[in-house]
Subunit: 187 residues, 2 copies
């Protein structure tokens, strides 16, 4: 299994000193199911990494939950707009399984970016990766059918079906629960 350090190195290599400073800046929490990492209308102070477990990012739109992201083991995730702008947002970040979560505080990360050029580079590359992901997701939502999106999810992430309620997955795919149910019944 991939470790946190391997995951960091994969994005961009750091000097030993930077790496040391960087790793010490992360906190680690063991949290139960349904634990809030960021509450509604709060500022997202942390960039997260989920070591194991599942978390999701969602919000309420006309009284309905919209799941914007689901993060499984060994993924970085954060409430993008709130974290960058350091302003409150509707987005809620919550675990949906007991989880081991790492987090680095925004201010701490900014300080480290100022002090260590290679951490700044690391962060720049991490964000580039998010931007690429975001573009792919947009393309998927705009041009793929519900069925295609579901199949892609299955292919890339088979375990998600066992671990995440159908309603969250549907919303994450940008469709209703009923539609997802109908798609699944075809198999």
């Amino acid at each position: 299994m991939e470790t946190f350090i391997e995951r960091i190195d994969k994005i961009s290599l750091l000097s030993p000193e930077s790496k040391n400073a960087f790793l010490h800046a992360w906190e680690e929490w063991s949290v139960p199911k349904d634990h809030f990492l960021v509450r509604e209308n709060a500022v997202a102070h942390h960039l997260f990494y989920i070591k194991n477990g599942v978390a999701r990012i969602y919000y309420f739109k006309n009284g309905k939950e919209i799941t914007e992201w689901i993060a499984l083991d060994n993924q970085f995730f954060f409430s993008i707009i709130s974290f960058f702008k350091q302003t409150p947002s509707k987005l809620i970040v919550q675990t949906i399984e007991p989880a081991k979560v790492m987090g680095i505080h925004h201010d701490k990360l900014m300080t480290l970016c100022d002090q260590h050029h290679d951490i700044e580079r690391w962060f720049r590359k991490a964000i580039s990766g998010s931007l690429i992901l975001s573009q792919h997701r947009m393309d998927s939502i705009q041009f793929e059918t519900a069925q295609q999106r579901y199949e892609k999810l299955l292919a890339n992430n088979p375990s998600i079906i066992q671990r995440v309620p159908l309603s969250y997955i549907a919303s994450f795919l940008g469709i209703t629960q009923e539609t997802l149910s109908r798609i699944r019944s075809q198999y």
Copy 2:
């Protein structure tokens, strides 16, 4: 009118030396209407800034043109995935009006990012901005109706209607030309 330097400063301030090195790294071209800045299946070597004129980013999907972005005066724009990965892509970047365009070569920018911490920071912040934009656009495509998207475009960018053919705008909004025409006829 906003200058190139003001636009750079707005993203993140640079030291005088860095700014000098940075500004000298940009090339400037005066190009006619319909000039290719990046051709199909080519690698996007440049990050662009359009001083005046209009450019668009598009590609062919099942024989049809899909307009992914339209850049008007004083905007940065680039073929995101191709530029970051430095791999060929279907995306074509082309002017649709005579334009004054600035561009910085990928390798040059990477070198400057290595040499100047504050240029690295500048780039990081620029990308964060793109990521925020990308998130907003995704939200818009997923939840807003064609009408709402059109009205928002009108509000944010009234001049675009005079300067860009309807078919490009429709595709940029993620709808067909016919639908856009029907929306417009309601006024």
